[in-house]
Structure formats: C-alpha cells, structure tokens
C-alpha cells in the first residue's frame, strides 16, 4: 500500500506513476493511451507544486508593471497616518488613474484605503464622495454610487464630473431620461464636447444611433483642437454605436484611432476584441493580443476569456492553461463571496465551458445589476443555448422599450422568435 500524505500530493500516488512512465517505449502508443485515460480520470493533483528556492540570486522572480515601479520610486503610495485629506484625495486619484491606465482594478482597493478615514462620512466631503462613487460604480454597486453622487450634486449642483458619472450610472440602470437630463445639464454648463458625447451615448442606446454617429463625426471635423483624451472618448462612442449598427468600416476605423491614442483603455479593448472576434479578423486580433502582452491580458478576467475564446477558435493547446487559470480565478471569487463577476462567469460558462444553464443563471444575475447591450446579448445567447427562451423575455421587452438597435441583438431575438413560431 502506498501511503500518501494528504497534503503532499506531488510525492506519492500518481506522482510516483509519472516517474514510471519512461519505462514505456514511445512505440507502444496503445498502452500509453490506456495510461493516459487513467491519468485523465485521476484527480489532477500533480498541478499542486511544493514551494521552491531558486538557486541563483540573479533569478528574476517577477517583473513589476512600470506604474508600480514609478509609484514605488516616488513612494506616493506610502501610508501616511498623519496625511491631510487633500493629500489622501490626491493619492486616491493617483490610484484611480492607475486603475484606468493599467487596466488593473486592484488599485481601486488602494484608492479606498487612502480614503478610509473619511469613507463613512463622505457626505461631508464632496471630493471624497465623488471618488467613493467611482469606486462603488466600478464594483457595480450602482444604488450606493447614486447616493454618493446625489450627495455631491446637492452640495455642488454644477459639478460636471459628478453629473457625468451619474449620467453613466443611469445609463447602466437604463434610466435614459435621467441620463439625458444630466447630459443636457453638462451642455448648459458650457462643456459642449462632454455634453454632446454624453448625449450621443444616450442616443446610441435609444434608437438614435445613426444621428449620434453623424453628430460626433461632425464634432471631430469641426474641432481640430480637441485634446487627445476627448478625441479618444468620441472615437470610442462612434465605434461602439457603429459596431451595433453593423457599420463595420466606421467601427474598425474608430476603434483603431481610439486604440492609437490610448492602448490601455479596458473598455475599448473589450469592445474592440469583441468586434475582431465577431468579424473573424484573427490576424488583427493576434496583433492586438501581442501588443497588449500576456501579463496585461491576465490582469483582466474579461480579456483572459477573450483570449481563451480565441484559442478555442483556432484549436490552440494553450486553451487548457487559460481555462484552468480562469477556473481558479472564479473559485477565488466564489470563496470571497463578494463582488462575484457574474458577467464574466456567464461568458466563461457559455463560450468556454459550454455549460449553458449555468451561463444563463449568471447572465440573468448580471442583468439585474447592469443593463448595457453586451449584458443583453449575453442573456439572449445563453437563453438560446440552454433552450430556455422564455428567460429572455425581460431582455426582449427592454429592447422594445428602449428602441435600442444592435444588429447582434436583433439577430438573436429573431432566432428566438423563429424558434417560438416553429414550436
């Protein structure tokens, strides 16, 4: 009997069998196949490695993101118990910028820690409340984010930043009338570029997408002095609306222009990769992935899933590695029992695991939290895949109510309605 300590998996059992496998000559493929079957059926405990000690002092363990190096060099992140509110706000802003620039949501926790002494009394400090709203909104805690934003706007009704953030929260909650009112107020506050872009985003979601594209294209042409950040935002708005309207060339050009300005915008990358996968532009997709880099891709679950989806499409063996890493991430999130990424889990279950009921369950949970076109697509796809068409009803109704046009959504709804007629 081989006794194997329960916590040291790699030393006994199948691990030992691995050491026997060199006995089997290469030519005995049949026998190897038999053993492989057994090994696949066995629990894959061999993946659990034991701690190790590198032999050389010069062995590079990991490479830090450049932002972290800069931060450490300037030591801006240092906890300062005596720090003033203004310094902490500055610090939190730096972390939020980092979250965006590096497409790494981990920095949100750092921003929260910087604001911690004022976190529960944020209503007294509009600047804190605004940053807190951004963090909460990032965690999909939209009602709480709205409480903070309302508090800011009660004290500072002309705070454009708060108005913009609230408009976007309303958009995620499909309260387009309120979103439009906030965008309109921004326009009145002499912020035309912001206002027009904001209104175009609402129009793009309420059946006036082509008009929005036209207005934004005109805005770009008329204002050559726009900042690169403004141009990036406008290109993204045009690209996503054009993407929904199947104006492929317009979408591609604008995605490319926005990406050329800022290659680290996570939202842009998410939409752009969707576009490339949907249109089978695999060469461009490979270029994009290689440009982003594997380490950066792994910072973000959504991008990891897209990468896995690509590997699945082309039949690459790296799929299994990505799959197991993603599985691990979701297990970790489940253990945390908070901020579970339902959208990504739905996408993973649907596209990679082919577990359609699970995908639908998560897609519907996500739909209760946020209602953007991509969330609707996920519910519709999962409902079709799991053959539970009635579960898509709330989304179909939402599309009718908002008059949203998205060729992908239309095609999915057509499939559902055709299936219903046939049955």
């Amino acid at each position: 009997m081989m006794k194997t300590p329960l916590t040291h998996y790699s030393k006994g059992g199948w691990g030992r069998w691995f050491s026997i496998s060199p006995f089997i000559p290469q030519s005995f493929t049949g026998l190897r196949c038999l053993f492989n079957v057994l090994l696949i059926l066995a629990p894959l405990n061999i993946a659990i490695a034991e701690p190790f000690v590198p032999t050389s002092r010069t062995h590079v363990i990991t490479t830090l993101p450049s932002f972290m190096v800069t931060l450490q060099r300037t030591q801006k992140h240092e906890r300062q118990d005596t720090a003033q509110l203004s310094e902490r706000i500055q610090q939190a802003q730096t972390y939020l910028d980092s979250a965006q620039k590096n497409n790494d949501p981990r920095w949100m926790g750092y921003a929260q820690a910087a604001l911690n002494p004022w976190w529960n009394i944020s209503e007294q400090y509009p600047k804190v409340a605004l940053l807190k709203a951004t963090i909460l909104q990032n965690r999909h805690q939209f009602p709480s984010a709205l409480v903070e934003l309302n508090s800011v706007l009660n004290q500072q009704p002309r705070n454009t930043q708060a108005l913009l953030t609230r408009a976007h929260v309303y958009m995620m909650q499909t309260d387009y009338t309120s979103a439009q009112q906030d965008c309109q107020r921004i326009l009145w506050l002499s912020q035309p570029t912001l206002g027009v872009n904001c209104l175009a985003q609402v129009n793009g979601l309420t059946g006036k997408g082509l008009l929005a594209i036209q207005q934004l294209t005109q805005l770009l042409a008329d204002n050559l002095t726009l900042s690169s950040t403004e141009r990036e935002e406008i290109h993204i708005t045009i690209a996503t609306i054009a993407h929904r309207h199947q104006q492929k060339d317009v979408a591609l050009q604008n995605y490319q222009k926005a990406y050329a300005i800022n290659p680290n915008n996570g939202y842009l990358i998410e939409q752009f990769t969707d576009y490339l996968i949907e249109n089978n532009l695999s060469e461009m997709l490979i270029t994009l992935f290689s440009h982003i880099g594997i380490d950066n891709l792994k910072k973000n679950l959504h991008q990891q899933i897209k990468m896995a989806q690509y590997y699945q499409l082309v039949g690459d063996t790296q799929l299994s590695t990505f799959k197991s890493e993603l599985d691990d991430s979701f297990t970790s999130s489940k253990i945390r029992k908070e901020l579970f990424p339902h959208k990504e889990y739905a996408l993973f279950s649907l596209s990679i695991l082919n577990k359609y009921n699970q995908a639908l369950h998560s897609a519907l949970k996500n739909w209760k939290i946020q209602q953007a076109p991509s969330d609707a697509i996920l519910v519709l796809r999962a409902a079709i895949a799991s053959q539970q068409l009635q579960q898509a009803q709330s989304v179909i109704q939402w599309v009718k109510d908002t008059r949203l046009y998205d060729h992908r959504i239309d095609s999915l709804i057509n499939t559902i309605e055709t299936s219903r007629i046939q049955t």
């Binding site: 009997m1 081989m2 916590t7 059992g13 199948w14 069998w17 496998s21 060199p22 006995f23 089997i24 049949g30 026998l31 038999l34 079957v37 057994l38 059926l41 629990p43 490695a49 034991e50 590198p54 002092r57 010069t58 590079v60 363990i61 990991t62 830090l64 450049s66 190096v69 979250a99 965006q100 497409n103 949501p105 949100m108 926790g109 820690a113 909104q137 990032n138 930043q161 913009l164 976007h168 995620m172 912020q191 035309p192 912001l194 002095t225 900042s227 950040t229 403004e230 990036e232 935002e233 996570g266 939202y267 959504h302 197991s324 890493e325 991430s329 945390r336 029992k337 946020q370 991509s374």
Partner: protein, 384 residues
Amino acid sequence: MIFGIYILRITTFIMLFFSLPTHAHQLSDSYLRITATDENPKYIARWHLGIKDLEMAVGIDKNHDGDITWGEVLDQENTIIQYARSSLDVQQQSLSCPLEISPIALDRLNSGIFIALDMTLLCSSNAPISIRYTPLFALDQSHRGIVTYIDTKGEHVSVIGPDNTTLVLHTPENSTWVTFWQFIKQGIWHIWIGFDHILFLLALLLPSVLSRHHNRWIARTNVKPVFTDVLAIVTTFTIAHSITLLAATLQWITLPIDIVEIIIALSVGIAGLHMLYPIAHQRRWVFAFGFGLIHGFGFASVLGDLNLPSQAFWSSIIGFNLGVEVGQLVIVGALLPLIYGIRGTTIYRQWILPTSACLMIIIGTLWAVERSFSMELINWVARI
C-alpha cells in the same frame, strides 16, 4: 470653445468610468493554511503572500528596475518575516502564540508567484486558537485573507477582510451524513492514489473481453459473458476486501503492514503473470477474492490514519468502503467499453495485453523489492 485643464481632468475621469464598469476583479488575496496536529507542535501553517503585495507593503525591488530577483527577496527576508509577524497575531486562551517562521521560499499558484512562509505556531496546548489578520488592509481595502483551517474533522475555509480581522478557528461539527459523505470521498481518493489496487484490478479485468481456446486468446462474441466475468471479479474483490477492512479496523485481526504491502505488490506481479500464462482464466474471481483479502488490510491501514471519528464510526467505515467501490466502478466503467471496443483487434490481443502483463510483472516486482528493502527503486530506475 474653451478646453481648460478642468475639462482634461474630467475627460480623464470619464475614461476611467467607461473603462472599468464591465471589468471583472482580479484582486489581491493571500492564502493562510493552518493545520492542527496530534503531535508537537500543535499547529503548523503555510502562508502564501503575493510578491506584488509585499513589494507595495515592504518594498523589495530596491534598485527600482522593475525586476524582482531572488537576491532582492533574500535581502528583504528579515523585513518580510517581521512584516508577517506584525500582521498576524495568533491567540490561545488570551495568550499569544509566538510564530516560528522558516526561511522563505517561493511558490507558483495559478494567480501568480507567491512568497511561501512555513510557520510553527508555538501554542501550549491543542485548545482552539484565534487569529487576528491585518496585512495590507491599510494599503488595499480590497485585499482578503483566505484562511483554511484543517483538523481531524475536516477543513473549513474563511475569508478575512478589513471589517472582520479576527477569526476563531474551528471546523463546524459535522452531521453523520456529512461525515459519511467525507469518508466516501476519502474512499474514492484512496483507490485513485492507491495505484497498486488499480493495477491489480486491471490485470484481472483486461482479459475479461477475451476467452481462451487452445492456448490462444479469442475475442468474446457478445457482452453477456464479459459482463458476468467482470461482475464476478469486482464483486468477489469487494466482498473480500470489505471483510478484512472491517476485521482490521475493528482490530479483530491485525497483520504487519510491511508484509501486507509486499504481498499487495506481489499480487500485481502475479496477476500480470497470469495474464501471460492463464492457468485459471475462468476462475480469476478466485484470485480477486484471495488477494482482495490482503488488499483490504491495505485499505484498513489508510483508514486507520484518517482518525475515525468515534461518534460516526460505522458511517465512516461504510462510507469509506462505499467510496472505494465507487472509485473502482468508475475505473471499470471507463475501461470496459474501451477494451470491449478493441477486443477483436490483433493489437489488443498480441500487443496491449502481453505488454501490460509484462509491465505489471516488472512494476509489481520492483514494488515488492522496494517495500522489502525500503528502497526508492522505481524513481532510481526512472532517473536512469
């Protein structure tokens, strides 16, 4: 149009807004695994701390070149250990248990590279302990400590966050059904890792799709005799090892485990030999029964190591035995259709069957030698 600095700041903010809402969260976790033992020390632990987290907390990359080398980690070893000590407080009956921390090592988990700290918690007794866990919260409010506590009753996972930094370690009292289920899983686990049992079973099962005529293997034409043959082998093996598993666990019969293990190893070799020279092809169930009795003693030694809970003694034994059966049936279920499908091929009769037999003889013999002389022969041969 006026586009001042304010607008630039705002647009940066919009971008931030847009880029983040649909993102999933790859947040910072550390993994602390505490095990209660029956011996001294009473508690041991392994703590995995993310290297990037430690970089932010204590600063490892001193030359700021972005590469963290093993040398830089070693230079900061004392700081890291001190940081770990200051952010983990273990208490037992209101007294602190000092932490004895081994030299640091690295560990690669799926979520990245971690510093692994092996620790002994110097508590005076095996009374329950509580921990106060505070690393990184001052820097990162989304950091969580994933704490796994293991004792004889099982393992229990808890999550520590900045709002609940103290945790009393315990595993919930298990109901009989939970214990039963846990032992079923242990049974399945032990048939899988007990490769000698599987190999013995395989040696008896592989010829079941064939019959013997004039010293030659011929594929059986229909499934019924195959099924009867397999059923007889599996059932007799089960009955036999159940008898001795029970007898040994209740300490009615005790055999020296060293001898049992050698006989188990030999049973693999003998079963392999019988595949080459079948003297009783139709009566392989007799082998299954005879050696099954010995294999049962082997299972019993594993069960003995698992500290059977006295309050759920019978459900544990029955659960474990049932688990072994389930594990066995999964193997049979996976193997049988495969070999039934290829039974008529020359490859199976003239190549797979004899090669498997030879391998089983070799492995069984090597195991027997290993176990007789306490050697690591297989690893040694494999290295050559």
